[in-house]
């Protein structure tokens, strides 16, 4: 049970941080500044181009020495990993909003920032929800990699219990069912949310 909570905690916290950082890099990519574009492109290229487990170990060996717990190493590793994908999700959804929406806001005297916040982003978030839900599910399952830096989340608990009792298959099966149930519950939640905010869509 403690493993389950830790898994959820790692996932939720890392996706939340990932969303904030991802949104930031999405703005970098959309900005007119060549430097910001470049920073975002390099960041996304590096994160997407290297395996998650390598990133987690990088954080582990880099940060653990500074006295940062393996929980935070795993969470931060996952958060940055997620942020690169979330940045692309946001960039795509913001770009998919018709240019006329921003123009309409501006023609009413709104600043670009205000029109972005009040007009474009709410619509972009709505469009981003399905891929974000997908990314959350990937993040949930990826959190099992935290086991490799001895975070006692779900997967780690299962393998430890398995080797202690020599019933590896049983525990693997149990942990698989745990993940499956979590993902199904979450999918249900996202679907509900999508329906709820579908209200005024075209």
């Amino acid at each position: 049970m403690k493993g389950l909570l830790l898994t959820l905690q790692i996932t939720v916290v890392s996706v939340l941080i990932g969303t904030v950082v991802g949104l930031l890099f999405a703005f970098f990519k959309l900005s007119n500044s060549k430097i910001l574009n470049w920073i975002a492109n390099v960041y996304i290229a590096i994160i997407r181009g290297t395996p998650l487990i390598v990133q987690i170990f990088f954080f582990y060996f880099g940060l653990a020495e500074l006295g940062i717990s393996s929980y935070w190493c795993a969470t931060l590793g996952l958060a940055l990993h997620n942020s690169a994908y979330i940045a692309e999700i946001f960039r795509g959804s913001i770009q998919s909003i018709n240019k006329g929406q921003l123009e309409a806001g501006r023609s009413l005297g709104m600043s670009t920032a205000l029109a972005m916040r009040r007009i474009v982003l709410p619509q972009a978030f709505r469009r981003a929800l399905p891929p974000l839900g997908n990314q959350f599910i990937i993040g949930l399952k990826d959190s099992s990699l935290a086991a490799f830096i001895s975070s006692s989340e779900l997967f780690n608990v299962a393998t430890t219990q398995g080797s202690r009792t020599f019933e590896e298959m049983t525990y693997l099966l149990i942990v698989a069912i745990y993940y499956l149930v979590l993902v199904l519950l979450f999918t249900l939640l996202v679907n509900k949310l999508e329906r709820k905010i579908a209200g005024g869509d075209e």
Binding site: N98, G100, E103, A104, S107, L108, G109, G199, G200, D201
Partner: protein
């Protein structure tokens, strides 16, 4: 009549998109309470001229004066200018995630910081004026094109602009819905709103316009009263154009 003040003055305006020279030394003067209708073939620069006036497009050279103030993007607060120059778009551009009333009160509340109750009251009055009082809680996707455009007009009016720009407001509408939008615009003209309208609705131009301006290839070819332009155009190009559409 000539005592009325000049609301819009455009002097030697030029604008290009890359290689394409869209506006060539355009000069135009619009007086307070005037209704000016811009006509011309697609690509003649009518819409670009309109979009330059509230700086959705930046001019290249020339001067634009709105209500006595010269507008230069690096010296003027464009957001302020745009509050006074309303714009209605061909494709409505209503905010789909907001109800009709929310669309109308968004800018007064967020930009002008008018108390919400007050904005709602004014918003309701505007919706009543455009004949959509019963739709305030409806989302735009549930409206017909004509209703959407009337909401868009109400949304613009909510900022109490001094000038209204209409960029082909009926071009995206089914023919049977054009009338309701045009009659809303005529009401507005009657109330003395200064209006600049790009349209292909010659009936509207004839009935509501004080001045009709014919544009061709980025230049103003001819301007005059509707009866002058439609009955005795001076330029061959104007004749040709009117010949193709009337």
């Amino acid at each position: 009549m000539e005592q009325r003040k000049v609301m819009i003055n455009v002097n030697n305006l030029n604008k290009s998109f890359g290689e394409l020279h869209v506006l060539k030394d355009v000069n135009l003067e619009v007086h307070e309470q005037d209704v000016v209708v811009l006509i011309g073939a697609s690509g003649s620069g009518k819409s670009t001229l309109l979009r330059c006036l509230n700086y959705l497009e930046y001019k290249e050279s020339g001067t634009i004066t709105i209500d006595g103030k010269v507008i230069e993007p690096d010296q003027t607060d464009l957001n302020k200018v745009r509050q006074e120059v309303g714009m209605v778009f061909q494709h409505f551009n209503l905010f789909p995630h907001k109800t009709v009333l929310e669309n109308v009160i968004e800018a007064p509340v967020m930009v002008k910081k008018i108390p919400k109750e007050e904005a709602i009251e004014e918003g309701r009055a505007l919706l009543k004026k455009v004949g959509l009082a019963d739709k305030e809680h409806v989302y735009p996707s549930k409206l017909s094109g004509g209703q959407k455009q009337r909401v868009a007009i109400a949304r613009s009016l909510a900022m109490k602009p001094k000038i209204m720009l209409f960029d082909e407001p009926t071009s995206a509408l089914d023919p049977e819905l054009v009338g309701e939008v045009l009659s809303t615009m005529k009401d507005l003209a009657r109330e003395g709103m200064t209006m600049l309208v790009v349209t292909h609705e010659m009936g509207f131009a004839r009935e509501a316009a004080d001045t009709v301006v014919y544009m061709h290839d980025g230049k103003i070819v001819e301007k005059g009263t509707p009866s002058d332009i439609f009955s005795q155009p001076k330029h061959q190009r104007t004749k040709d154009f009117l010949g193709t559409i009337l």
